[in-house]
Symmetry: C2
Subunit: 366 residues, 2 copies
């Protein structure tokens, strides 16, 4: 077991460091700002697995050519309410921001905008893009596909991705932000438990279609999660039997494929492998203006009141009812004031990247 | 334990009987045809709980004035891609068919149609409306809210409805039709197990927020499922703890509220009680034309191939991988040829309704 030391760092300084690193890769000033904002936002809302820590994976991808620094997303088909974007394997975050901005523009002009983006890259948390729409007073949705990870119900081999569904809508006091893999947990959660030396507390991983793998020391099976030909995979939301609703998580994962890879004619989960530079994941971005249905303020008030009724329910002692977005809002406030959490291993790797690129590091980290 | 005798009946004859009964209630010929088609379709795809059997509940509602036979759905707000419909408490099926036809018309003209319908009634299976769009070559989605039934994660009292999500898209050899409550199972499934004298095989019902109720003889707790103030409720998809993904099913249920009750400014789940004639559930209907994204045939072929890859996966011995819609397609073929299944108790009640309305019964049932 490795001891991991986590410290707090000023988010604005780390954001500037990221900006400088991305400029050094060759991204424009605006692009570098967008990536830095996206990664720091992720840490600010407490999703450390997908923020600064992801810079290491992206660094690998930039170096091996999987992420093509100078390629720009391109609209290949468009109507008033829809677009297909070919991302040409540019950085996932930039493709996502570009595509969601396009969906927002269409929603503001025509009420609804649906964009589906192919040949993209890992774009971080889906909730960021959904929230971009919510910050403009709209409903936002985003999803992405991935390499095979989920076991379709009864299958002994994974084929569908972790395929998250993100949904955001303005509400008081906190924006409602739902962001959930259609597997019971995403791949990253397994890694966190292994790092912490904790057994998996529920049926997150199954072997041969239905046997739970819970022992964190079971490195053979857990390593096989990365092998699309193995007899190990992630359970859909709802587990691995119809009695617990496995077919529902599986079906939702397939629906995500429709909006990402199928409508964009991009790569399905079954075609994606991390090592093949000629394939990439697909993403979807939807924005809806609530005012096409009624008075926007009245709608948001009604929604806020409904969410408050839920929060006010009696609950299991010590376990309040938490609405999607509340945890993130609390984390955002805490980390904005007290700094984002970065572990020493991640920070050392970021320092290595900065050194290699000739980016000054010390002034941003203390 | 009650012995239930189930027999097969010619679907076309029963459909004619339903048509005659609905005409006798005072519905128009077209309306009566629509209801009869919808209910028989439900039995043909094997969802007996929501087909002919539901006529008994609707008969109660028509007699107590909850369903207003002569009221027509009305568009109260509209754009090229959206509409809000006030259903004025007409029959749910007719509101649903009207609203989905409107969404389909908008999708054919402008690519996307989103309709949200308030003050409606119980509309049967959500999948029927999604499939209406698929039959026109479009993607269809439909959801509805309901009285409080789902326990939000950690809550000891239900507040969100069973809030199903239905999604349909043309595919070969079978239309992909996903139709799933955002609770682990819908209320009707509990009734089926109680009728059959079988214990509940998974955490479908919880007491005090986290204690499973599995004993089918536990009539106190299971009857309390109908009481919105009780300490018993249905588990969300994902169970009752975050470890198993409870917050995901709960969040999906809230998203369904947005598209049904919030955007239509109708009654939220928390406001719906079966006995209050001044409130009614809300529904949403979305149609999307795949051709706004690309060549429709190519998209459907790509989707069909992806679904076939899933079907072809190795699986647990004796348990094939089943894609959403496959079971329904098999049932449809079987029941079209060999008749729909109706139990003797349901049939006796339908006979009672026919007698009361002066509708000839014998000629349709043999």
């Amino acid at each position: 077991m490795v001891i991991i030391v986590v410290k707090r760092y000023d988010s604005e300084k780390i954001q500037e460091l990221i900006y400088n690193i991305y400029k050094a890769y060759g991204f424009t000033e605006e692009e570098s700002q967008e990536v830095a904002h996206m990664l720091i936002y992720t840490d600010l809302i407490g999703i450390e697995s997908h923020g600064v820590q992801r810079m290491i994976m992206y660094d690998d991808f930039i170096r091996n050519g999987k992420i093509r620094v100078h390629n720009k997303p391109e609209i290949v088909k468009e109507t008033d309410v829809s677009a297909v974007v070919d991302a040409h394997f540019g950085l996932g975050q930039l493709n996502g921001i570009y595509s969601m901005k396009l969906a927002i523009k269409k929603a503001k002009e025509h009420g609804i905008g649906m964009v589906t983006t192919r040949r993209s890259g890992h774009y971080g948390i889906a909730g960021y893009y959904a929230n971009m729409a919510a910050e403009e007073g709209l409903i936002g949705m985003s999803s992405c596909n991935s390499r095979p990870a989920m076991l379709p119900t009864h299958a002994t081999k994974a084929l569908v991705g972790t395929n998250p569904i993100a949904f955001a809508m303005p509400a008081k006091p906190n924006t409602f932000i739902f962001d959930a893999a259609t597997t019971t947990v995403p791949q990253g959660k397994i890694e966190v438990y292994r790092k912490l030396g904790k057994d998996l507390p529920a049926l997150w991983v199954a072997k041969d279609g239905e046997t739970p793998v819970n022992d964190h020391n079971d490195s053979v099976d857990l390593d096989l999660l990365r092998d699309p030909n193995a007899n190990v995979g992630l359970a859909p939301l709802g587990g691995v039997t119809e009695d617990t609703g496995s077919h529902k998580g599986f079906g939702l994962g397939v629906i995500v494929e429709v909006f990402t890879s199928i409508l964009s004619m991009g790569n399905t989960s079954s075609e994606i492998t991390p090592d093949d530079l000629s394939v990439g994941p697909c993403q979807s971005f939807t924005a809806i203006d609530p005012s096409i249905f009624g008075d926007k303020d009245a709608i948001i008030n009604k929604f806020s009141n409904y969410l408050q009724e839920i929060r006010d329910l009696p609950s299991v002692p010590g376990k309040p009812v938490i609405v999607a977005g509340d945890k993130e809002a609390t984390a955002y406030k805490d980390r904005s004031n007290n700094g984002i959490e970065i572990d020493d291993k991640t920070l050392a790797e970021v320092e290595g990247i900065a050194d290699r690129l000739g980016v000054s590091y010390e002034q941003f980290v203390k």
